[in-house]
């Protein structure tokens, strides 16, 4: 009880100290939840705080959006199965391990339950639920639509005049994407790809920033999201590839015939490595950032658990300072990763649509970096 009150105290202190250090809400919430879960599963573990579980809970997707302990926004669960058809119900029905309609939520994953009430991991059904990440995704899409329709209106309103308001705030970024990413990487035919690059850049940026907010979802740190972005880039690169691009892969100039059996597979692997690297880079960077911040904050609760209240009070300022510092770094990373993903996409597109592809003697696809100059 005292510990719980102390946790509340820590939470309030942390929130007052730094608005940036937002993850406590979830962390604390999760701690409560993990208590609940542990109570159900193993009463002996009561009160034991598992930092790993807390972190994984935060960075992974979930049914229902938990902003803070006990403050959970229920989200629709949408399931489709061959035998039962489409089923839609609120995620609150499955809260606290309850069974509803023959389904059960175990560690954020919905499973069917058999007659005995145990999860049936073999049953096949498709889960199209509006999870926390999907809700966050839709929220970010709505934000982007609102923001950019406002920007677009600004251009209609201020025709022939200086930009104003949000228009003048975002114009430099749009120009940056156009002049520093699209133009130098793709070349004169950049206009066709500019809408995709702009959407990509702002989508990643806004979701990176949203992910830093307290209680927010870790969308760009989810591999499904980065996978889709990388696959779209791959599709665009593959379908806009010209003669030179394919010749470079299957018949590289300046490479001895004897080396072709090695070079061609390398080039083919390179084609798939490019989107793969995009996918993993964004996912790993964002997830790692979240893990570091959560680990740092977890130290307070670890100290509380192991050394008692005074230890955690003693280390809190230090931990909060580091968390604040890392949050600032995460802000930088949010911009940086959006920039890198967009830049590399632009460069891959550039290498595919380049008119004259110089022989790079098998140095590989990174040869296009020279265009950055």
């Amino acid at each position: 009880m005292i510990r719980s009150v102390f946790n509340q105290f820590l939470l309030v202190t942390a929130l007052i100290l730094s608005p940036l250090v937002g993850v406590q809400a979830q962390e604390h919430g999760h701690e409560g939840e993990s208590h609940a879960q542990h109570e159900g599963e193993a009463p002996a573990d009561k009160g034991k705080f598992n930092v790993g579980d807390m972190i994984m809970h935060h960075i992974k997707d979930d049914h229902g959006w938990e902003f803070a302990h006990g403050v959970t926004l229920p989200l629709p669960v949408i399931l489709y199965s061959g035998d039962r058809g489409l089923e839609v119900f609120s995620s609150s029905r499955l809260a606290h391990g309850e069974v509803y309609n023959g389904y059960k939520n175990e560690h954020g994953k919905i499973h069917r339950v058999d007659e005995a009430g145990n999860a049936d991991h073999e049953a096949k059904f498709y889960n199209f639920s509006i999870t926390k990440n999907v809700a966050s995704l839709m929220l970010s899409a709505v934000i982007m639509l609102l923001v950019f329709s406002a920007v677009s209106r600004g251009y209609a309103k201020n025709k022939g005049k200086a930009p104003s308001g949000i228009q003048s705030f975002l114009e430099p970024i749009i120009l940056f994407v156009r002049d520093e990413i699209a133009k130098p990487s793709i070349g004169p035919n950049y206009t066709k790809f500019l809408p995709y690059l702009l959407t990509l850049f702002f989508f990643i940026l806004i979701n990176n920033l949203l992910g830093l907010l307290p209680g927010a979802a870790n969308l760009t740190g989810n591999i499904a999201v980065t996978l889709v972005l990388a696959v779209i880039t791959f599709v665009i690169v593959t379908f806009s590839g010209n003669k030179h691009y394919w010749l470079h892969i299957f018949k590289p100039t300046g490479v001895p015939i004897a080396l072709l059996p090695i070079m061609v597979p390398v080039e083919i692997v390179g084609v798939f490595m490019k989107p793969l690297s995009l996918m993993i880079r964004l996912f790993a960077n964002i997830t790692a950032g979240h893990i570091i911040i959560l680990s740092l904050l977890g130290l307070i609760f670890m100290a509380n658990h192991m050394g008692g209240m005074m230890t955690s009070v003693a280390i809190s300022p230090v931990v909060l300072f580091f968390t604040l510092f890392l949050n600032l770094i995460e802000l930088l990373v949010a911009f940086l990763q959006a920039f890198i993903f967009t830049l590399l996409t632009a460069m891959y597109i550039g290498s595919a649509v380049e008119d004259h592809h110089e022989a790079d003697h098998g140095i590989g696809y990174e040869g296009t970096t020279s265009e950055l100059g």
């Binding site: 994953k109 999907v134 995704l137 639509l145 206009t191 702009l198 959407t199």
Partner: protein
Amino acid sequence: MDLLTPDLGLLFWQVVVFLGLFLILRAFAWKPITESLNERENNIQSALDLAEKTRLEMTALKADNEKLLAQARSEREAILRGAKETADKMLADSRDKAESEGKRILEQARESMQNERQALVMQMKKEVVTLSLDIAEKVLRKELSDKGAQEKLVTDLVSQSRLN
């Protein structure tokens, strides 16, 4: 490991939402925004070009003006020089004319004086002849008032003249 396994539902929603977002933004945001940006850049560029052109025109105009001014100046000088020359020439001409006229008048005067003198001399010669004849007559009359003197004279004359 399920951190690394993409979730089907999220994949589906990500594809739907992202592509929808892309299509909507492309039509209603990126197109008007990039078009306006290009238009504004073109406007700025053309304004700059116009300014540059105007500047060049101004420079040309200024050069023209200067040229015109220089031309006017040189013309004025030429006119002044011409006027001075004309004036000088006129002066010289009239001086020459006056000189020659003076010379001519002098010549004429000298000539008429010469004639006058000649006429005078002739007159005087005539007068002297008349006078001397008159004197001679008078003297003779006085000399020859008596017979003896007449004879003497005749004798003198006769003696003086040789009868050859």
